[in-house]
Every structure is written in structure tokens, then in C-alpha cells.
């Protein structure tokens, strides 16, 4: 293919650059300043609500161990579903590249279906349609709710990973395939020993992005009644007598936890993208 050269060297449209690292970066002292500000304003808020009730910060500190356990459960769900989804998604992505036409067609339809369905609907799908236990011979394998939730999150992850894999493999130049061919590698060997190792670099940033999305999606499990952070937040609110002034700070605390976890992942992704200089 010959590229058409523009008449002048003035660029008509520059290629899309990878996102720059945000100019604004949070450092440790920002966090300290935030905590200091909260502590400064806490007595004022406490005085407003009366002496018998705990101040807002007091309530959050009191329940922090419980809430953080819930957050840990969120992270556990996210890691497990990411692992499951990545393994199955890798297979599905490779199936899309299969030489058998109908096989790749089926994999494509499956991928598009799970990619275009809302996460919450897929979660409902898994919660209601997977039985609570499986019977294999005499052994009964129980399927508690949280395992079903892991599967529910793994479904969209699978489809997205499949797309990432397909995109990465197709972005490797065909010269690699031809060179491998001339060295008498079989198709499978070429895929596993030559193409996929090169793809890892390209797949890592979008994969990390996806992980951050999964982590943020795990709160959906509260809608189907799993004891994760958001459910616990509502329970803490009830335990404190349903004070309405507590709602905003409690949900803000949940937002903060997720922000502290996801923002570094986001920064790291952007940095990797810049270093590898690949478009996501």
C-alpha cells in the first residue's frame, strides 16, 4: 500500500495522541490537607447535631473497620471475576480469530452480545439463572451468592477481554505471521510463541482500564443483596438511627475508598500507554 503524501508539510489533522499525564497530580500532602480540613470542620458539624450523637467523623471512624472489610470484599470479587473473565475471554478472543468461519462467527456474536448488555442486567442474569448448587454424582457443589456474582461480572469482562485480544492480535503487522510461516512454525506455535507475547504490551493498558471498571462495577452486587461495601453503608446508616445528615458523608466515604484505589490504576495506565505509545 502506498500512502498518499500531502502536498504541503502542514498537517491537516494530527494523529490522535495518547492521553497526556494529567497536569494535576495528587500528592501525599493533598491527602493530609483533606484529612486536616475534615478534622477541623468535624467539631462544628458535631456541635450542630447535638452532644448525644456522635459527630459525622466519629461515626465514620467507628464503623471504618466494617466498611473497609466490605471494601475488601469488593476487591476480592473484582480480582476473582477479572481472573475468570480474562482466562475465558482469551479463549473467546482466539476463537474469533479461528480459521473456521462458523466458529469465529459464533464467537463474534457471543462477544457482541455480552459487550452490549448492561452489567447490571448480566448480574441479574447470573443471579437468577444459575442454580444455587450443582450436583455432580454424589458430590453437591454449593454456589453461594457471591460466586454467582463473580460469574455475573466475569461475563462482560470476558467479552471485553475478547475484544482486546482480537484487536491486539490484528494490530500486529502481517510480516510477523509471514516470517513465522517461513521459519516453519505452525499456526498454533506462531500464535502462542510469536504473536501473543508481542500483544501483551498492547493489551496491558486497556486490560488495566477494564480492571478499574470492574472494581467500580462490583458495587452493583449490593442491588442483588450481597454484603459488600454499599450494602454495609446502608446498614451502618440504619444502625446509627437513620440520621439524614449522615447519608452524604457515608456515601462520600465510599466514593473516597474507590477513588483512592482506582485513581493510581488510572494514572499508571496512562503512563504505560505513553511509554508503549499505543492507542487504547
Amino acid at each position: 500500500m502506498t500512502e498518499i503524501k500531502p502536498m504541503t508539510d502542514l498537517p491537516v489533522l494530527l494523529p490522535v495522541r495518547p492521553p497526556s499525564v494529567p497536569a494535576l497530580r495528587f500528592r501525599a500532602w493533598h491527602g493530609l490537607a483533606l484529612v486536616a480540613a475534615v478534622l477541623l470542620f468535624a467539631p462544628a458539624a458535631g456541635a450542630q447535631t447535638g452532644s448525644e450523637e456522635l459527630s459525622i467523623v466519629g461515626v465514620i471512624i467507628k464503623w471504618m473497620p466494617l466498611l473497609l472489610t466490605g471494601f475488601g470484599f469488593n476487591l476480592l470479587i473484582s480480582v476473582l471475576s477479572m481472573a475468570l473473565g480474562t482466562i475465558v475471554g482469551l479463549g473467546l478472543g482466539l476463537l474469533q480469530l479461528s480459521e473456521f468461519h462458523w466458529l469465529s462467527r459464533c464467537a463474534w456474536v457471543l462477544t457482541q452480545f455480552f459487550r452490549n448488555a448492561p452489567w447490571l442486567v448480566l448480574l441479574f442474569f447470573a443471579m437468577y439463572l444459575i442454580p444455587y448448587q450443582f450436583r455432580i454424582g454424589d458430590v453437591t457443589v454449593p454456589f453461594p451468592d457471591w460466586v454467582k456474582a463473580v460469574i455475573g461480572f466475569a461475563l462482560p469482562v470476558m467479552a471485553n477481554v475478547a475484544e482486546i485480544v482480537r484487536g491486539a492480535v490484528q494490530s500486529i503487522s502481517s510480516g510477523q505471521w509471514e516470517a513465522a510461516d517461513s521459519l516453519a512454525f505452525t499456526r498454533r506455535q506462531t500464535m502462542w510463541m510469536i504473536i501473543l507475547p508481542q500483544c501483551v504490551k498492547r493489551m496491558l493498558p486497556p486490560w488495566m482500564n477494564l480492571y478499574s471498571l470492574v472494581t467500580m462495577a462490583t458495587v452493583l452486587a449490593s442491588v442483588v443483596g450481597i454484603n459488600e461495601m454499599l450494602t454495609l453503608t446502608a446498614q451502618v446508616h440504619n444502625a446509627e438511627g437513620g440520621r439524614t445528615d449522615l447519608l452524604a458523608p457515608l456515601y462520600a466515604f465510599a466514593l473516597l475508598c474507590f477513588f483512592i484505589y482506582c485513581y493510581p490504576i488510572n494514572l499508571w495506565t496512562v503512563r504505560l500507554e505513553r511509554r508503549f505509545n499505543v492507542k487504547s
Binding site: L10, P11, V12, L13, L14, P15, V16, R17, P19, P22, A23, L24, F113, N116, A117, P118, W119, L120, V121, F124, F125, Y128, L129, S212, T215, M216, A217, T218, V219, L220, S222, V223, L230, T244, D245, L247, A248, P249, L250, Y251, A252, A254, L255, F258, F259, C262, Y263, N266
Partner: protein
């Protein structure tokens, strides 16, 4: 219509597949209203989020550092926190802080309803992503083009409106397409604050009619259809905006 209803009724009697929405008028209206609400939520949120994105991307190129910093903080916060917690924070947290009126039987009537809060939080969530998307498009417009516009006497806003944005829009349409599809899928979260959208309507139906599997399939098919329509519209728009020989 009569034949379809009769066919689904006989399907239920012969196979046990109970698609109530096709023959039960009550379920049918409930489902239709749900889908209508989903479409309403998505269309309004898409429009507001586009406005948020355009204004935010413009402010991000502002000469005042504080404005840039504020936009950056907005983007970073909304991109890195779960949308469901955002909705809860706005609906439960902010909703309590706003003034409310009391009706004549003493029930609290909040200033903004759950539908309005859902629209606000969904628009801000998608808007934060749109700002990033538009920014990448604006960066793709060469500085020389902006300088040429300035040399022709455009003001900063004028150059942005008439020169930079039309070019940037064409560059970032694929990414925008992705984000808007994502927004359409995120509207299901409004279920959590009892907005009667498609998922909510379907859970109501299957609670009464005991047909979880069938309704789940109908719901998934509905969303695949809605996403398909949105993608089709976006592709039509992309094609109509295309300038021959320009861009890819």
C-alpha cells in the same frame, strides 16, 4: 395483534414459555413504559453529557489555571468512582441537603425527583468521560489551524465554535460512540433508586408472573436492540459529517 397474543398464549399453554408482555395488556403497558423511560433517560442524559463535554473541554483550554484545575478535578473524580455510588450520593446525600416542601398530608416532597437525580448523575458521569474524549479531539487539531483562524479575526470562543470543535468532533466520534453506548447501558443503574425504567419494569413483571428466564431474554434482546439503534444513528451521523479527503 390478536394473532400474536393468541400465538404467545398458546406457546405458554403448550411449552410453558410465558411471555406475558405479548398477551397481557397490563404487563405490556408496564414494559412499554419501562422501555420508554429508558429511552427518555438515555436521550436526555446523552444530550446533557454532550453539553457538559463541550463546555468542559473548552474550559480545559482556559488561560486561568484554577478553572483548568477544577475541570481536571471534576473529570478525575467522576471517572474513578463507581457510578452507582455517585447516584446514591446524589439521590440520598444531596437530595437530603436540598430544601424540600411538605404536601398537605405531611409527606416530604423533595425538590428533585429520582428521575431528575438519575439524569443529573448519569449526565455528569458520562460528561466527565466526554470532556476527556473532546480534549483528545481538540488536541488533534493543529495549532496552525487555530492560528489561521485567529489571523482571520476569530475570537477565542468563535474559533472554538466554528473551527476547532467541528474538526475535533470528527476525530473523536468513534470514542464518543463508545461512551454513549456505555451511558445507555449505565441507565439501568437508575433501577437502584426506583426509577421505573426497563430493568425495573421487568423485575416487577417477573415478580408477578414467575417468568424470570423469559423476561431476562426479552430484556437482553431489548438492550441489544436499543444499543443497535444508537450505534446505527451514530454511524449515520459519522457518515454525514465526513469530509471527503479529510482525516481517515
Amino acid at each position: 395483534m390478536q394473532e400474536i397474543a393468541a400465538w404467545f398464549r398458546s406457546l405458554y399453554e403448550t411449552t410453558g414459555l410465558n411471555f406475558t408482555i405479548f398477551y397481557d395488556p397490563y404487563d405490556a403497558t408496564q414494559f412499554a413504559r419501562g422501555v420508554g423511560m429508558t429511552i427518555y433517560l438515555s436521550v436526555v442524559s446523552i444530550l446533557i453529557s454532550l453539553v457538559v463535554g463541550v463546555i468542559g473541554a473548552w474550559l480545559q483550554s482556559s488561560r486561568i489555571g484554577i478553572v483548568r484545575g477544577l475541570v481536571e478535578i471534576f473529570v478525575v473524580i467522576f471517572r474513578n468512582t463507581p457510578p452507582l455510588v455517585q447516584i446514591f450520593f446524589f439521590y440520598f446525600g444531596m437530595g437530603e441537603l436540598l430544601p424540600a416542601t411538605y404536601n398537605d398530608i405531611g409527606l416530604r416532597e423533595p425538590l428533585l425527583s429520582n428521575v431528575q437525580w438519575a439524569i443529573i448523575s448519569l449526565s455528569l458521569f458520562a460528561g466527565a468521560f466526554n470532556i476527556e474524549i473532546f480534549r483528545s479531539g481538540i488536541e488533534a487539531v493543529p495549532q496552525t489551524t487555530v492560528e489561521a483562524a485567529e489571523a482571520l479575526g476569530y475570537t477565542r470562543l468563535g474559533a472554538y465554535r466554528h473551527v476547532v470543535l467541528p474538526l475535533a468532533l470528527r476525530v473523536c466520534l468513534p470514542a464518543l460512540n463508545n461512551n454513549l453506548v456505555n451511558l445507555l447501558k449505565t441507565t439501568t443503574l437508575a433501577y437502584a433508586i426506583a426509577v421505573p425504567e426497563a430493568l425495573y419494569a421487568v423485575t416487577q413483571i417477573w415478580a408477578e408472573s414467575q417468568n424470570v428466564t423469559e423476561m431476562m431474554c426479552v430484556l437482553l434482546a431489548t438492550f441489544v436492540l436499543l444499543v443497535g439503534v444508537l450505534v446505527w444513528v451514530m454511524h449515520r451521523w459519522e457518515r454525514s459529517l465526513r469530509i471527503p479527503g479529510f482525516g481517515q
